[in-house]
């Protein structure tokens, strides 16, 4: 359909305005991350929108290298919080995807676990804050407090609904002919699942895993409650990047924020076409 020139102009103006609003906060953080202290601590009229003297000082600082310009030293670097975020998100994703994929296949092909779809949606409905008291008690009983494996377990449970629903819609969409042919050939059902179905589903599995990873990586509240010192994750650690002498270390926070923000944005763009399906529990496909 050919549209009029005024409409096209309007469209571009509106989209560019939305683009500016979308990008300014992100670009501000990027800019702060590369500013030297004199620039990121400036306020009011001295504010610079883009670093005049770009530097990697902020990144060096959070990884423990002493930078001459900052009078404070960190009592711990960002390395371990990054490791904690990575380990808990990766293993949490493994738990959710393992249990979710198996259950989704069991339901999709054999009709087992009819209660799961509703139970898992309820799990998603409730605010995590409303179940954290028992979880904290259970986790201290199991000696899981302040550990990446404790986080991984709760992450695996919290994102199980997404893994299950995503994989269920993928299995439902998959043609059955190949599986049936293999059955006729005398393959056991388990063999069909592990040797034929799963390899065929590699791409959907990867998309679902990335989606679940983004969710786990994005957590703040659970880590805030379940980790205290040893295995705090990136967002929890970030709060400690301030000092009584210099106040908020904006530059350091921006640098670490950038490190935390890049993986999910890249992954999210990579799995763009499955985002709708993931976010709506498979109710909608793009």
């Amino acid at each position: 359909m050919k549209r009029s020139v005024p409409f096209e102009t309007f469209r571009y103006v509106a989209i560019l305005a939305a683009l500016a609003v979308t990008l300014v906060p992100i670009l501000w953080m990027v800019s702060m991350a590369f500013k030297p202290i004199a620039e990121w601590s400036a306020t009011g009229a001295d504010l610079t929108w883009w670093p005049k003297q770009p530097t990697l000082d902020n990144f060096r600082f959070i990884f423990g290298e002493s930078t001459s310009n900052l009078i404070v030293a960190l009592d711990r670097t960002a390395a371990k919080p990054i490791a904690s975020s990575l380990l808990s998100a990766i293993f949490g994703t493994a738990i959710a995807m393992g249990a979710g994929t198996a259950a989704a296949y069991g339901l999709s092909r054999f009709g087992s676990g009819q209660n799961l779809p509703l139970a898992l949606i309820q799990l998603r409905l409730f605010p995590p804050m409303a179940v954290m008291i028992p979880v904290m008690i259970m986790w201290s009983f199991l000696n899981f407090m302040d550990s990446w494996w404790g986080l991984a377990l709760i992450y695996g449970i919290v994102t199980l609904p997404f893994a299950f629903w995503l994989m269920k819609t993928f299995f439902d969409d998959m043609p059955r002919e190949i599986e049936e042919a293999a059955l006729v050939e005398g393959c056991s059902r388990l063999r069909v699942f592990t040797r034929i179905t799963l390899p065929m589903m590699r791409a959907p599995l990867a998309s679902a895993a990335l989606f679940v990873f983004i969710l786990n990586w994005s957590d703040y509240l659970i880590a805030l409650l379940l980790t205290t010192r040893e295995w705090v994750t990136i967002p929890v650690y970030m709060a400690s990047l301030s000092s009584s002498m210099t106040g908020q270390l904006y530059g350091a926070k921006a640098a670490l924020g950038l490190i935390a923000a890049v993986p999910p944005v890249v992954m999210g763009i990579a799995i763009q076409r499955h985002l709708v399906r993931g976010l709506t529990f498979g109710a909608l496909k793009q």
Binding site: M29, A103, M138, R189, G257, F281, A283, K285
Partner: protein
């Protein structure tokens, strides 16, 4: 979202039965199905049945981690349902609930309208569409806590937001956004709208693209203008998708915590304290866990009732 998804699932289950009726009857399949679903069942049970019973038990007592006794002996601190009567009279709880409702009533419609407007601009092809689309989705992928730090920086009194306002208005603006009770709430809502409008945009665009084009063309030939086409053809076709998108945001917005807590910590005072922030503070600062358990259970019960009613309503709408 929930009701539709579940109804879809039921439909799928029915057709599954037909498709594989010949193969599934044997015991091997049933056994394998049971084994495959077992880990998920165990995880669900592990996080629902036992914790809920524990929560119910603790909620009837004055137990706290500082009580010096294990939670299982909490009955020694039995308090005759005092937590629940306290809750009914807890002004801070009710105002936190009200504030959560206000945030929801502002943010969700704003996100919906902005998302819908943007989505209509993306309905047909134009140069640069893919690029703009990808950029537009970025905010929802930024870790919410990081978005919180971003907006915390932006809204400082000597920060870029005021700088921008200064250069627009011509005189220096030094609003202390995050320490003013009203403006702090506004700032928090702006951050939420910034982050989650893309989600509305994404879902609504998926719906808009699915509206059959020939119907729109037919209406155009019959002389309907763009607004008429939108209200009489596009919106009715989008009904389910709109409900799903709104439901997702209502559910998620009710839980609002990360960005808000980092930006304001619920303050100044309790000016931006939503229900999750309130529970968090009582849990970690006041440490009265028996009471927290009561609040949490009350919320779980209310949410469950709302969810069941909503699903029933939607199921009726579907039959009609």
């Amino acid at each position: 979202m929930n009701a539709t998804a579940i109804m879809k699932h039921r439909d799928a289950a029915v057709s599954d039965g037909e498709n594989t009726a010949a193969g599934v009857t044997d015991a091997e399949a049933a056994r394998l199905g049971f084994r495959l679903t077992l880990p998920a069942q165990i995880l669900v049970l592990f996080i629902s049945a036992f914790p809920l019973l524990m929560q119910l038990y603790i909620s009837l007592t004055d137990w706290s981690p500082l009580s010096g006794i294990g939670w299982w002996s909490a009955w020694e601190l039995w308090n005759n349902f005092a937590n629940y009567t306290d809750l009914a009279a807890d002004g801070r709880f009710w105002s936190a609930l009200g504030r959560t409702a206000i945030v929801m009533l502002v943010c969700v419609p704003a996100e919906f309208l902005l998302g819908l407007a943007l989505a209509t601009l993306f309905m047909d092809e134009f140069p640069g569409k893919r690029f703009f689309y990808s950029v537009m989705l970025m905010p929802m992928m930024v870790v919410p806590a990081v978005a919180g730090y971003m907006f915390f920086m932006l809204f400082q009194s000597g920060g870029p937001v005021n700088d921008l306002l200064s250069s627009l208005t011509g005189f220096p603006v030094t609003v202390a956004w995050l320490s003013d009770p009203t403006l702090a709430l506004v700032a928090v809502m702006i951050a939420d709208i910034w982050q989650w409008t893309p989600l509305m945009f994404l879902i609504l665009l998926a719906g808009l693209v699915g509206v059959p084009e020939d119907q729109i063309k037919a209406a155009t030939l019959l002389g309907a203008n763009a607004w008429q086409r939108f209200t009489t053809i596009v919106l009715p076709k989008m009904k389910t998708i709109i409900v799903i998108a709104l439901a997702i945001r209502v559910i998620e917005n009710f839980k609002i915590f990360d960005t808000l807590y980092i930006m304001t910590g619920g303050g100044p005072g309790v000016a931006t304290e939503t229900i999750s922030v309130y529970i968090y503070k009582v849990t970690t600062q006041d440490l009265i866990w028996g009471y927290v358990a009561a609040i949490a259970l009350a919320i779980l019960v209310v949410l469950s009732v709302v969810a069941v009613l909503a699903m029933k309503r939607m199921a009726q709408g579907r039959e009609a």
